[in-house]
């Protein structure tokens, strides 16, 4: 009698057979808690309360019931974190480093338990939790043990923010916990973290690890529950919210925290392009897609989900890809031979299935029976166009959509034709092509001839509606600290009231216009406002700017892309030239400042403005990027890139220096700006465009729209073509501006202007780090 498991039979069939990882220890751990968990607050677990079940998506089996946090629970967690924070920060870097080191070691000691528990809870293949998620989480704690150790030396003048509220998703439960907690506590913050309701178990096990490490009570607090708990944390008196999850929830958090002065980082959705040029190693590019879109069932924010393949090789590439898809193995995530596990929840699977069902294009799914449980097959949809919904919308499942391009330029256009900007892959054997494309892609992370590479030393995060802020590296550490001293915010200053009977100051009427696209422009609305000197002289009129003037200015700024590509040397030269031309008219500007404000600080303001122009002309070609020591034969480059178009509200006072201090770092880094000058004293700004005009500043790089700051600021914040808004004016505007900024999730910076102007710190606000991974070796 022969059976399927006769050795002689297997010798012929060469089946792999089952290779299950044991879940005995993980089940025993759950059983030891009677499969019921409370929260981890102030160093101890609370009693289990009413909540929800955490199920194994591969089998539907109950893993444990978990508590839904109440307002009291959240309050208790926040209070514990608040109470613990000063002591934790005061421990100093070395003492904190010891705890982080212990956490890293403990994660390593319990590595298999964490891996199995993660796979049980999430459904991802054990290979991924064992070889990727858990090792990366360990690495994150090791790396940040070092950050704690070095903080005093390497980040002088930086302090912990305080209490951080952290909300993480279900796709990489422990890894996202590590990304959030490690930098936060390294810097001296304490945290209240909420894991996703579908995947809370490894976070609770981490609570146990904190106890084993002897971490002071209250430094790490973990509360479980659904989105309502997340909302409570966002609304609570915390100093920072760090969120990873969907763009929709990120937008809600942006609105909820608007004007609150809470530090915010958001790591949101994506529709990352995967660009394959005809000279690529096509076999390797196909294999890369397995790691791009069938990694974690495609439930990855940075999944390479949008395949762009050069037309000449597209048919061949698709054929190779389909053949590869046919060998992917779906099934029990605990089996060591499984490539694609279960999706996290039937809700998610059904959502993906519905999106695919509603799509056009040519659908390919390998002809294999699906296992029982929450599974969805690897899917390729070819023949789509950018106009098709699935080319634009995040699917968050194992579904790859594909279209073709003809030229490198077209590849860039298609890649950037998205609301998102998280990651991108470029495949080419031509170093000129690959390194030429990488800087042109709108993304926070670019992988050349690779995909989904991560390391604690390398920043990760997005642009556009993929969010803002970086996790990992020095840039990630900065997001959990603040400057020891911050400049005072601007105070309201009233415009000089009109006298009963005023007369013009000069013999010839002067018309101060807006400055848009390198040209002087009348206000679209046709309204002007008179400005008076304290002595009652009519100094002139400025246009009352409106939405349409902002629209025109942003359009001009959008077109001036050459500035962002110009060499740093050229930008530096032009800033020096602005200073040179201003210097020639220093006395006139000083007098004008004095005349418009009625003060005597004009000369000093011009002097500081000149200093600011020199400072940022100097920085223009000195803000270095970095090569990150990641475990790779190759380079991980951290490249500071301009944000694009920045809308700036200048402080009422100092009316001139405030404008120059804001403009200089922004354009030095290659941004184009739309400036709304001091509302009470705008005439100095309209004088200033004459200096810009004579200093070779290209058209559209600096645009000036005078008028009501709050309304114009909201229009800027609302404009989806604007990449960041700086409110250096009144804090009263913050809430409205940050609420409006939620639309396209643009970055905001609400700050005062230091008396001596901005230094290096402003450059971080004017740039974002793009991490470019360049593996090499022939």
């Amino acid at each position: 009698m022969s059976s399927d498991t006769d050795i002689a039979t297997i010798f012929e069939t060469l089946e792999y057979g089952p290779a299950p990882e044991s879940d005995a220890e993980a089940q025993a751990w759950l059983a030891s808690h009677n499969r019921a968990f409370g929260h981890f607050i102030d160093g101890a677990f609370t009693l289990p309360a009413e909540g929800f079940d955490s199920l194994n998506p591969a089998t539907g089996a109950l893993l444990a019931s978990v508590s839904q946090a109440t307002a009291e629970d959240v309050d208790a967690a926040i209070a514990a974190a608040r109470a613990a924070q000063p002591g934790w920060a005061a421990l100093g870097g070395h003492r904190r480093a010891r705890y982080l080191y212990a956490l890293a070691r403990l994660l390593q000691k319990h590595t298999r338990l964490f891996a199995v528990l993660e796979t049980l809870d999430n459904g991802k293949p054990i290979r991924e939790s064992r070889d990727i998620d858990i090792p990366l989480a360990q690495r994150h704690f090791y790396y940040h043990a070092g950050m704690a150790q070095l903080m005093d030396e390497a980040l002088p003048g930086r302090l912990a923010l305080g209490v951080c509220g952290q909300i993480i998703p279900w796709n990489f439960p422990l890894l996202m916990l590590a990304w959030k907690i490690a930098p936060a506590i390294a810097a001296g913050n304490t945290v209240v973290l909420k894991p996703a309701e579908w995947t809370p178990l490894t976070a609770l096990l981490f609570g146990r690890i904190c106890q084993e490490a002897g971490l002071p009570a209250g430094v790490v607090n973990i509360v479980t529950g659904d989105g309502a708990v997340g909302e409570m944390i966002v609304a609570a008196p915390v100093d920072k919210i760090a969120f990873t999850g969907s763009t929709e929830v990120g937008r809600a958090i942006r609105r909820a925290t608007a004007g609150s002065d809470k530090s915010l980082t958001l790591e949101l959705g994506g529709k990352s392009p995967y660009v394959v040029f005809e000279d690529a190693d096509l076999d390797s590019a196909v294999e890369g897609l397995v790691d791009a879109i069938w990694f974690n069932q495609g439930q990855v924010c940075c999944a390479g989900s949008r395949l762009l393949v050069q037309e000449g090789v597209a048919d061949r590439f698709h054929a190779m890809l389909k053949a590869r898809m046919a060998t992917l193995r779906l099934g029990d995530p605990l089996d060591k031979c499984i490539d694609v596990g279960a999706m996290v929840d039937p809700v998610q699977r059904d959502r993906v299935a519905a999106m695919v069902a509603a799509s056009g294009g040519d659908l390919f799914q390998p002809a294999k029976a699906l296992p029982r449980g929450c599974f969805y097959p690897p899917t390729l949809i070819t023949g789509l166009s950018p106009a098709d919904r699935l080319m634009q919308e995040e699917i968050f499942g194992p579904v790859l959509v594909s279209t073709t391009f003809r030229t490198p330029d077209e590849a860039v256009d298609l890649a950037n034709n998205s609301r998102y900007g998280l990651a991108a892959s470029v495949w080419s054997e031509n170093v000129n092509l690959a390194l030429g494309i990488a800087p042109r892609l709108t993304a926070g992370v670019v992988w050349i001839n690779g995909t989904n590479m991560f390391d604690a030393a390398a920043g990760f995060g997005g642009v556009r509606e993929s969010g803002f802020g970086r996790e990992g590296g020095w840039e990630g550490m900065r997001a959990y600290t603040k400057a020891k001293t911050v400049p005072n915010r601007a105070r309201p200053v009233a415009a000089i009231p009109a006298p009963a009977a005023g007369a013009p100051a000069g013999p010839i009427d002067r018309t101060a216009k807006m400055f848009i696209g390198g040209k002087q422009a009348r206000p679209d609305g046709g309204h002007s406002r008179a400005l008076w000197s304290p002595a009652g002289a009519l100094l002139g009129h400025v246009g009352e700017g409106s939405r349409k003037d902002i629209r025109n200015a942003v359009e001009a700024a959008t077109k001036a892309t050459g500035w962002s590509r110009a060499t740093a040397h050229l930008r530096s030269q032009i800033l020096y030239y602005v200073a040179e031309n201003l210097s020639a008219r220093a006395a006139e500007f000083a007098a004008r400042v004095n005349a418009t404000t009625g003060g005597g600080a004009g000369a000093a303001e011009v002097e500081t403005a000149l200093d600011q122009l020199f400072t940022h002309a100097a920085w223009a070609d000195k803000l270095d990027g970095a090569t990150k020591p990641v475990p790779l034969r190759g380079l991980a480059l951290a490249v500071p890139e301009p944000l694009g178009v920045i809308g700036i509200l200048c402080p009422p006072m100092p009316s001139f220096m405030g404008l120059v201090a804001a403009m200089a770092p922004a354009i030095a880094m290659g941004n184009r700006v739309v400036i709304v000058p001091s509302e009470p004293f705008p005439l100095i700004a309209t004088d200033f465009y004459q200096v810009l005009e004579t200093s070779d500043v290209p058209a559209g790089v600096v645009n000036i729209v005078t008028g009501p700051q709050e309304a114009l600021g909201c229009t800027l914040a609302d404009h989806t073509g604007v990449d960041a808004v700086w409110n250096l004016s009144l804090p009263d505007y913050d809430a409205a501006i940050e609420t409006a900024a939620a639309g396209n999730l643009k970055r905001t910076w609400c700050s005062g202007v230091p008396k001596r102007g901005f230094g290096r710190a402003a450059l971080d606000e004017a740039t974002g780090i793009k991490t470019i991974w360049v593996p090499y070796g022939e």
Binding site: E12, L14, R127, N449, E778
Partner: protein
């Protein structure tokens, strides 16, 4: 109980080992330089694939035992030493006929298992053919001035003929590395064509000596050129280079074979040689082959291990499977 292959051939005869019996022979193609020059091999990506594969596939228990037996069936049991004697070669041949201790094979439910071939120098061919008479196990001869391939061209070609006349049914030739290193693909093609013609009905394995080709891209190109020129198998190494078979090189060569099959419908065999000495290594190679080229290739007519010490480690693992206790080397017969 008799194990049978897909085609119903009795394993014990070993006749299915000869590729020309189950696969159409590769007639070769004109040298297609466009195709050759398009070949790309991204080392970092290839290394990622091979580094992660062992974490993606695993065989346990009876499945592992069956895969290890399959590994034995594709070993070219090899001796290529200056001190080879007829007695030594006869011992090797006896081991090829009975690679696993009788009681273990019985416990595993297998009969008639042999290695894929015996691989020797020309002078040992007649001895090996005689020793393997009736077993169906083919004799492979390394040839063409092995291992450096720098003896006079005429003599290299003549050597093939001598070995075929002595009874070798497989000829492992070495290519002129200088043709690859200088980019003289036409010369490589012509050389390979001539070798192939000299083999006649004997099947030809082209040894690329990948450790001396400088880059994976060269490995990919040399693989394609040799297949175009009529190679039945492509083989990594002589075992004498500083670097012999590696997983990245294997992946590149397997992908070249896949590419050739996709365009011509012809299946070319693959033989990694040198440095594969543990059962675990062997399983990884077989799984890579199974994943990249499919189960059709994991047979002696399309795959061989060039190895001398691999068998001993596999025997120990098989005994462990049977008894549950770890095994000592001296419990298994020497070659």
């Amino acid at each position: 109980m008799q194990s049978r292959t897909e085609t119903g051939t009795d394993l014990a005869t070993g006749s299915q080992h000869l590729p020309q019996l189950t696969e159409p022979r590769n007639p070769g193609l004109e040298l297609d330089m466009d195709w050759v020059m398009r070949a790309a091999a991204n080392r970092s990506a290839i290394e990622r694939r091979t580094a992660t594969l062992p974490g993606r596939r695993s065989v346990k228990k009876e499945f592992q035992a069956a895969w290890l037996l399959r590994a034995i069936s594709v070993i070219d049991l090899t001796t290529l030493s200056g001190d080879d004697t007829p007695g030594r070669v006869r011992r090797l041949c006896a081991k090829a006929r009975q690679p696993v201790r009788h009681d273990l094979l019985e416990a595993l439910g297998m009969t008639g298992l042999t290695t894929g071939a015996v691989c020797v120098y020309h002078e040992m061919v007649e001895t090996a053919v005689a020793a393997l008479d009736g077993s169906g196990i083919p004799v492979a001869a390394v040839s063409t001035g092995f291992p450096a391939g720098l003896s006079p061209f005429k003599l290299r070609v003549a050597e093939i003929g001598e070995s075929v006349r002595a009874g070798a049914s497989e000829i492992d030739i070495v290519i002129s590395r200088r043709h690859v290193l200088t980019g003289d693909w036409q010369a490589l093609y012509d050389e390979m064509r001539t070798f192939r013609e000299a083999c006649g009905a004997a099947h030809i394995k082209a040894i690329l000596a990948t450790g001396e080709l400088g880059s994976l891209r060269n490995v990919a190109r040399a693989s394609l050129v040799c297949m175009m020129a009529g190679a039945d198998f492509i083989k990594t190494s002589t075992g004498k280079e500083a670097v012999n078979a590696t997983l990245p090189v294997s992946l590149v060569m397997m992908r070249a074979i896949r590419d050739y099959h996709a365009r011509t419908g012809i299946r070319i065999g693959y033989k990694p040689a040198g440095g594969i000495s543990t059962a675990k290594d062997a399983l990884i190679y077989l799984m890579l082959l199974n994943e990249e080229l499919g189960p059709h290739w994991v047979r002696p007519d399309l795959f061989r291990f060039g190895a001398s010490s691999l068998l001993g480690d596999i025997e120990r693992q098989l005994e462990h499977h049977v008894t549950g206790a770890y095994s000592a080397a001296w419990r298994h017969a020497l070659a």
